[in-house]
């Protein structure tokens, strides 16, 4: 289908974008790989789309002990980024490689994925395991929020209507760390039936996050097995609850093994 009638405005800078977003039924579009398909299905019917794709919120940069991912950075740009080719950050490229397809990776953005908050999206699990925080910008100024507090539920985030993700900040893992992302995908949609990201520290400490199995990606805490047992896992005709729980345990184990191997091997 063709999207319902809509107006279009291209933001010239962040302040302009925020001004445009004052319109109640407005919606931000960047790469459009999540929004345009749901507009075509008329699940989303914004009155105005605010195109932020030309704003300068793009790029991968290491500053001090932090990695900064511009929210408009595409999956493909993440794949190409030399800054991410270290064992501690390896999960980011590994995850980006498997997202969607070539066309989606060329246009889809990390910020768009976070703001869309699909319960089965891959990268939020990686960024949770890496301990990412988001810098959000509104007309009232900036605020910083841990990613774990940003995602509130399926397709629901803490982002206010007149607010943009301005930066995705990842503390650089200590030297000797390793990270990994492992998922089992639905063969047609490509979305994760279960996905797990792990960060292994130089001391062997693990931080693990999962996606695709509940209403939102989440951190497993100190006892991953117990956390998976306690999780209210979502089942459907492709992956009933018990199967998904089993699958989650498998991808968690594989992600941990791979992260630990990278931490040890330094590759």
């Amino acid at each position: 289908m063709i999207p319902a009638p809509v107006r279009y405005a291209r933001a010239s800078d962040v302040a302009h974008a925020l001004e445009l977003l004052a319109e109640p039924e407005s919606k931000v579009v960047a790469g459009g790989q999540s929004l345009i398909p749901v507009m075509r299905l008329r699940i989303a019917r914004p009155s105005l789309v605010v195109d932020i794709s030309r704003l300068e919120l793009r790029g991968v940069e290491i500053r001090g002990d932090e990695l900064h991912l511009g929210p408009l950075t595409s999956w493909d740009e993440l794949l190409e980024a030399a800054e991410l080719r270290c064992p501690g950050l390896a999960a980011i490229g590994e995850c980006a490689h498997g997202i969607g397809d070539l066309q989606v990776r060329n246009r889809g953005t990390v910020g768009g994925s976070l703001a869309h908050a699909d319960p089965a999206s891959d990268m939020p699990a990686v960024l949770l395991a890496l301990g990412a925080t988001l810098k959000l910008r509104s007309p009232k100024g900036d605020r910083v929020i841990p990613l774990a507090e940003f995602v509130l539920g399926p397709f629901t985030t803490a982002l206010h209507a007149q607010e943009l993700i301005a930066d995705v900040v990842v503390p650089l893992p200590a030297p000797g760390s390793g990270s990994a992302y492992v998922s089992v995908e639905h063969p047609a949609s490509g979305f994760a039936l279960a996905g797990a990201a792990a960060l292994a520290g130089p001391d062997g400490a693990l931080r693990v996050a999962v996606t695709g199995i509940t209403t939102q990606p989440f951190l497993l805490g100190d006892d991953p097995e117990e956390a998976l047992e306690a999780a209210e896992i979502f089942g459907d005709r492709f992956a009933p609850v018990d199967y998904r729980r089993e699958l989650a345990a498998v991808v968690v184990r594989r992600a941990c093994e791979s992260a630990v191997a990278r931490a040890k091997g330094g590759s």
Partner: protein
């Protein structure tokens, strides 16, 4: 409520009036008569509408036409030059990479993106790159072979 869109399509500056909701694929097909970008699904899954935006493969049904303002668009119509088929097109014919042909423009442009960055891709890399393009005739193996052979042809052309 029409807005004027300016873009460069197959090397030529073009201007057309579109509604803000118009998808790029409709602007190309209905506005500019470039019907090589096919519409095979309603859910941005099939990849038949793939075109290149600034040399990168994109599903033109998942982009608002106005988002492409000023961009350089390449469609299947521009691949053949001076009456000669592009090596990727030739390779698809020689290796039986198509039957009905509906998915072919999208596959060829996805292959063009892949081969522009990876001139000698492994079969795994080829399969990964065409994941977003559905073909219901060939079973994909001849397509993989077509792209592999096209890579070889392009490398030979470049070395000449």
């Amino acid at each position: 409520m029409l807005e004027t869109l300016e873009l460069v399509v197959n090397g030529e500056p073009r201007s057309l009036d579109v509604e803000p909701r118009t998808l790029l694929v409709h602007a190309l097909r209905d506005g500019l008569g470039l019907t090589g970008a096919h519409i095979g699904c309603d859910t941005s899954q099939c990849g038949a509408c793939t075109v290149l935006i600034d040399n990168r493969a994109v599903k033109s049904c998942a982009v608002l036409a106005l988002q492409a303002e000023g961009a350089a668009i390449t469609t299947i119509e521009s691949l053949a030059a001076h009456g000669e088929m592009h090596p990727i097109q030739r390779s698809f014919i020689e290796n039986h990479g198509l039957q009905c042909g509906f998915c072919t423009p999208g596959l060829i442009l996805a292959a063009a993106d892949l081969l522009s960055r990876d001139p000698e891709p492994t079969d795994e890399a080829i399969r990964h790159a065409i994941r977003g393009n559905l073909c219901r005739c060939t079973g994909y193996q001849p397509i993989v072979e077509s792209i592999r052979a096209a890579g070889a042809a392009l490398r030979e052309e470049a070395s000449r």
